[in-house]
């Protein structure tokens, strides 16, 4: 049983990892095809996992509705919206002329209406709330408390001045200073981070492939 529960997953991870690693260096057509094949496989597995997610979500909301727990009405909204959207989409998708045509279920007219008039305003608005949050975060964070904080503050101020269309800022070369900040110190910092991250990723990946890192498999035997 340990073989099935522990060893086989580690062997699968090892094979999948090594194959993808070696594939990168082999220019054969078969090797290129393998990359796209495995990518598709990962997508397919992910698609099945949605059932697990769905069960978790419905379990929570339907549980609330059954118990008439506080806020069960909101759970009802979620469930009804989910069933309606999925139902309309699935039915619309089934009506397409032939299974290979480019008109996907998600591009049916009804689903597009929902996307444009419900998803878009909701998502766009949530995204735009960042405008308010970034202002309040800037107000709290940009204080000259320490030397480091002052550097952060000054860099931020210079960059923000570029957007202010007052001639004096252009005259003293704010856009040029910005270019320099972004192409020199900013890039240096980002490169430093990227190099370090790359080594971490290589090390972590190797530990996974060789079965040293196995937290992701969970516990038990």
């Amino acid at each position: 049983m340990v073989l099935l529960k522990r060893q086989i997953p580690l062997i699968i991870a090892f094979i999948a990892g090594i194959v993808m690693l070696v594939q990168y260096y082999i220019p054969l057509q078969e090797s290129q095809d393998l990359l796209s094949e495995f990518t598709t496989w990962a997508m397919i597995i992910g698609a099945f996992a949605l059932v697990i997610g769905l069960s978790s979500l419905l379990h929570m909301h339907i549980g609330k509705i059954r118990r008439l727990a506080p806020g069960w009405g909101y759970s009802l909204i979620t469930v009804v919206a989910l069933v309606t959207t999925a139902g309309v989409g699935i039915i619309a998708g089934m009506q397409r002329p032939d299974p290979d045509s480019a008109i996907y279920g998600s591009q049916a007219a009804q689903i597009q209406w929902m996307y444009i008039n419900l998803m878009w305003p909701l998502g766009g608005t949530m995204f735009s709330i960042l405008a308010f949050f970034i202002a309040s975060a800037a107000y709290r964070a940009f204080r000259a408390r320490t030397f480091e904080a002052t550097v952060l503050l000054i860099a931020a101020m210079i960059v923000m001045l570029e957007v202010v269309p007052i001639k004096i800022f252009a005259a003293i070369g704010i856009p040029e200073i910005n270019n320099w900040i972004f192409t020199c110190p900013n890039m240096a910092a980002q490169r430093g981070i990227m190099l370090g991250v790359a080594l971490s990723v290589v090390a972590t990946s190797l530990r996974i492939i060789f079965g040293i890192e196995r937290t992701y498999l969970g516990g038990g035997d």
Binding site: I52, S56, S200, G219
Partner: protein, 416 residues
């Protein structure tokens, strides 16, 4: 008027002299044939193409054309396979195939495509070659009305088993792999490797303790990438360590998930931590739950939960996009202690400014080693440090050499 008439012949003469009329071109010496013609299998590819190279005619202009002709037999019918206009397609454009030699600027190349399979119904007048067969090439130089053909060369295309253009990548992988593995083995024998202080991780205990004192929940977000991505794996590893401390403190831990697979793994990991802490009874599966796989509905839901349940502590570890600030600022508004960490360059500024502690880039990956002090992980970390020292040396030497006009290391590191 008379003056104009006198000038007219002069102007005419000048006009003839300036515009290169075809009549004049005919008086030119005949065009030379192209020299140093070579044909070779395209290296580092999946077959199906042959590279033809030749020395550029020194007098070429944009009017000049090189026509690459191909045939299956020495004396067979030749087809047009490629046309290279003057001034384009130099060997120096393709260091992947020809390297960085200075003289590559004086040579043209053309790539002739072949097909994998035998062509069943060849279209008339068009060349359709097949992999693995010998083909003969010549280059016709054409300029104005004139043209001249070169001699013949031949080549066979084949598949390559190793991409030499990726040799630098391969060697680096082997070096880093070896160093990391060696230090992991080393650490098994010498388990007490030193690791510097990471203040964000020292605060984990305190942050969890605070939630316990206040009797409020802890939120843990693993980021928005799927399970196959490394930042998510790093985050799940930290979740395992944090959950153990949480279980010991008997505090409520909530993990709202963006991806069903990540949720499944997180459930297993948290359950395992509770078991290890001796509190398997305290684990509730519904506290590690799926929300949605859409960025902004996810963030709306998590922000809403934060406002209602007012967690004392937020962990935001993994890879984030724009939602980083939406989560962190909502957390700041309710006064939660926030420990964030990501290798998403674009989101680091927001975590650094709004969270109490931020794990920057590599620190996210170092966290599980730091929290667990497992020799294997510490050894791996030591290997990464050696890798960094190596990269620092390469960068310093490479930059110095390149600035001095010797781009040797730069070329060596160029990826293809």
């Amino acid at each position: 008027m008379r003056r104009l008439l006198i000038f007219l012949p002069v102007l005419l003469a000048a006009a003839i002299f300036i515009t290169p009329l075809p009549a004049q071109a005919q008086n030119n010496p005949p065009l030379p044939a192209v020299t140093e013609l070579e044909a070779q299998d395209t290296p580092n590819d999946s077959g199906s193409s042959i590279l033809v190279t030749w020395k550029a005619w020194p007098n070429e202009t944009s009017e000049t054309e090189y026509i690459v002709l191909v045939s299956g037999a020495k004396d067979g019918q030749f087809f047009e396979a490629a046309v290279v206009p003057g001034g384009l397609s130099f060997k120096s454009d393709q260091p992947r195939y020809f390297g960085f030699a200075e003289k590559n600027k004086d040579y043209h190349y053309a790539s002739v495509k072949l097909s994998k399979e035998e062509v069943k119904e060849p279209r008339k007048g068009i060349f359709q070659g097949k992999d693995g067969t010998e083909y003969f090439f010549k280059v016709r130089l054409r300029h104005g009305e004139q043209s001249s053909d070169s001699g013949l060369v031949s080549a066979i295309s084949s598949e390559n088993w190793f991409d030499k253009g990726k040799l630098n990548n391969f060697i680096l992988m082997i070096i880093f792999g070896f160093v990391v593995m060696w230090f992991i083995q080393h650490a098994k024998k010498n388990p007490n490797l030193f690791i510097r202080k990471i203040s964000g991780l020292d605060a984990v205990d305190e942050a969890i303790g605070r939630a316990t004192e206040m009797g409020k929940p802890i939120f843990y977000v693993t980021g928005l990438l799927p399970m196959s991505e490394l930042p998510t794996i790093a985050s799940v590893n930290i979740l395992g360590r944090a959950a153990k401390i949480v279980a010991e403190h008997d505090t409520l831990l909530k993990v709202p998930c963006y991806d069903p697979i990540v949720m499944s793994v997180a459930q297993e990991v948290v359950k395992d931590s509770y078991t290890k802490a001796g509190r398997p009874d305290a684990y509730r599966e519904e506290n590690v739950f799926y929300v949605t796989s859409d960025q902004f509905s996810y963030v709306a839901a998590v922000d809403g939960m934060m406002m209602r349940e007012k967690p004392a502590t937020n962990f935001l570890l993994g890879y984030f996009y724009a939602e980083s600030l939406l989560l962190a600022e909502a957390g700041a508004a309710i006064g939660a202690i926030q420990i964030a960490g990501t290798d998403a360059l674009a989101q680091l500024p927001f975590f650094v400014t709004t969270c109490d502690y931020t794990l920057i880039g590599e620190e996210l990956y170092a966290a599980s080693a730091y929290l667990s002090r497992e020799p294997v992980l510490l050894g791996s970390l030591r290997g990464q440090d050696i890798g960094k020292a190596f990269l620092m040396a390469v960068l310093v030497i490479g930059t110095a050499l390149t600035l001095a006009g010797i781009p040797f290391l730069k070329h060596l590191l160029t990826p293809f």
